[in-house]
Symmetry: C2
Subunit: 446 residues, 2 copies
């Protein structure tokens, strides 16, 4: 069967793998996470498989103060992701380049300029995953004692996105002339200061570089809390999410699409990609072996630390085989906390069982199986409206990405679910997203 | 004659050339300033000639509100320079990569992380030119009505540099272990929070990536005001400066070295590179022709605008052939204003004459001549203690850089003044600067 609708695939790259113990696996070279060539290789593998984009998450702090426990965890956010993508851009040709940058601690003018630079440098392949910083550890690197309060952070992020988009729109299409005869580098009638003066930001603009190949970089979001959904439905074009079941994923995507529609948007211009951690091999036994080897490498203290952080409760004070206590209210990752508690309650998991479940993929869906079994699940979620595609989170890198590209992608192609060649050159082309309209008339009428 | 002391050369790259009318010259493709391949080509030309580094200036605003006059000037600061250098890094192997980033509007944690990323990505070739933002146009993009006051800006910059260096020092050499057997990604005893709590900044640290190949990126400064000299003498390893005469350059370098010595520093670890705009060709006539062609392309209104901006006085209100009026006191580029006024006074220049002098190279030294004549001047300044080398500012690009590399560099080599091959791999290697000491014992003793 050939589908008209095509699946979108992101390669979510993180150090030497997403698995909490990935760096400890004997097949992995842990030092690769500090090497540019490792990331370039990953990007090239993903591009050869015709993924829509590679994607880097981010965080602006070490994972905890230096400690023996901290030293058990590989640093997942080593390179600053925009620098890394700029270095990867000239070594790839088509694949989209999505970086997470928090709206909390970087002035919006800087962010707009950096992503516009990346979009120009890459010929229209940039995407910005807009997040807010949700940890005190990050706040401590930016002059604050505590993170900003959750709702405030999102209200501020909403205005931030508005400023960034206005800056991206400050040069109309074609405003850069470079016309020696007319002695005009640009057309002053088509370059507009934004003169934004809002609750949180005051920014004059215009941007110092012209409209980018994509009009503006693709807007991505990853927050799944109520505040996150409201912001995504208002502004995002691509949403990354963690979903454990097909039904929850359908409900999440439906809610997002309905909210976007209520905002006057076309819901097909808002793509939802749940994260998927695939353990894939020619046989299910081989796939399960890698899964089990990695789980055996997880130090229980690391799992307790990770889940305690999300819960806002020190779980080392509770019996490992007892039930999960009530979570503390948090100003941090609200949606991930809810997912954790709901999963434990629904399945009656002990703390130990919850850790085993969650530590593998930090709440994202894990699948263990043959290429056909993995493709079955992806197809089922895709066809039933649970997803527009998936953000693939290999447990170890580069092996997990290579395995997915070699084994699962051909199977998706046989089913008519995934491209065999790029049809366009930009990330918007790959995703089927429209160019944002240039507000030429509105601005000219000011 | 062979000199033991070797000249340092920076390639100061700016759009399609430093000359105010460079983009209008018929031999120039003005649209190249928006194209990555243009900058990659320039970096490769400079590397083939064994320059120490390429260097990008920066500014975080358009040069004025959009206007017909503004459209006469090419945008000199198009790409965000760190993104540009990250894209150039993998397409070069040895040449140093220096970017200007203002300390005024970017939190120091971000800056430290970005430059550490570039130093890792490039195998130890990063340099940070620390400036403060000196224009209201920039302030307006960051929530302020006016730029920060000059002395305050520099006091803040001093603490900023201290924070950035502390972050770069937060991982000791060898602290990243990636040791699977010991299950330690890093050694917690060798990674140190900085817990900085100062007048302007509060930053916990440590940085989230390990000590860089250069220990820390090379620290560059370009301010030549009293405040700028004090900051450079305290912290800089390389200083870019604008000097019109050999004697002034000798005095400037001596003062800087004396102040560094008074600070307990080795003055040979503080290199001074005046900017030089060379018009070079096989014959002097040909060189002069390019100079004159470019000068003829300068719109007088642009010159008046540029000089008015530096003076803080609207010169369009004064007769062009009359004397320069008194400047307004400024919180902006103090040292450049002084250079302007001193030059006009010393030589009795009219406003029109001053514009012709200054518009070519924005106050930097211009030389027109044959390869031998250019080399004579560089050798004279170098040997007499006016400079440790030069920051070469080609009037048009790529032609001006290619001409310097093809004509002047071989002449400098014949005189034993400049390398024929790189001796090392890092920017510190090229410049002969030591690795900064890792404050291991001090930190451990806390």
């Amino acid at each position: 069967m050939v589908h008209n609708r095509q699946m979108r695939l992101g390669a979510f790259l993180m150090g030497v793998g997403h698995h909490a113990a990935g760096w400890l696996h004997p097949s992995v070279d842990p030092r690769a996470l500090t090497e540019l060539r490792h990331y370039v290789h990953l990007a090239q593998v993903a591009e050869a498989a015709k993924f829509d984009a590679i994607f880097f998450a981010d965080n602006v702090a070490m994972f905890g103060r230096p400690s023996e426990l901290g030293a058990l965890a590989a640093p997942l956010y080593y390179y600053e992701p925009l620098s890394l993508l700029a270095a990867i851009a000239p070594q790839t040709e088509r694949i989209g380049l999505i970086a997470t940058v928090s709206a909390t601690y970087l002035p919006p003018y800087h962010l707009a300029r950096k992503f516009a630079s990346l979009d120009h440098l890459s010929g229209g392949r940039a995407g910005w995953n807009c997040v807010t910083s949700g940890s005190d550890l990050e706040a401590h690197n930016f002059g604050l004692d505590h993170q900003l309060e959750h709702a405030h952070r999102y209200a501020r992020a909403g205005e931030y996105v508005e400023v960034v988009k206005a800056l991206w729109n400050s040069w109309e299409e074609g405003a850069l002339l470079a016309d020696q005869a007319a002695r005009r580098f640009y057309d002053p009638a088509r370059v507009h200061p934004i003169d934004h003066d809002g609750q949180f930001f005051k920014v004059a603009g215009p941007l110092q570089l012209d409209r980018t190949p994509q009009g503006h970089p693709v807007l991505v979001q990853a927050g799944s809390s109520d505040d996150g959904i409201a912001l995504a439905a208002a502004t995002a074009e691509l949403v990354f999410t963690a979903q454990q079941s097909r039904e929850d994923a359908i409900a999440f995507r439906s809610r997002l699409r309905a909210t976007a529609t209520a905002n006057g948007r076309d819901p097909d211009e808002l793509l939802v990609l749940p994260g998927i951690m695939p353990f894939v091999a020619e046989t299910r036994e081989e796939a399960q072996r890698l899964h089990d080897e990695l789980l055996a490498l997880v130090d229980p203290r690391l799992g307790i630390g990770f889940v305690s952080g999300l819960m806002g409760v020190d779980l080392s004070q509770y019996p490992l085989d007892g039930p999960l206590p009530e979570p503390a209210s948090t100003e941090g990752w609200q949606s991930r906390q809810k997912l954790l508690v709901d999963t434990a309650r629904a399945e009656g998991l002990s703390i130990r069982q919850l850790i085993a479940r969650i530590i593998t993929a930090r709440g994202h869906k894990t699948i263990v199986g043959t290429p056909g079994e993995i493709a079955d699940l992806l197809e089922d979620w895709f066809v039933s409206g649970a997803a527009d595609g998936f953000n693939i989170m290999p447990p170890i890198l580069p092996q997990g990405l290579e395995a997915f590209a070699d084994l699962v992608v051909p199977e998706l192609r046989r089913r008519g679910l995934f491209r065999t060649e790029y049809a366009g050159r930009t990330l918007r082309d790959h995703l089927g997203l429209p160019l944002p309209h240039a507000p030429a008339l509105a601005a000219a009428a000011e």
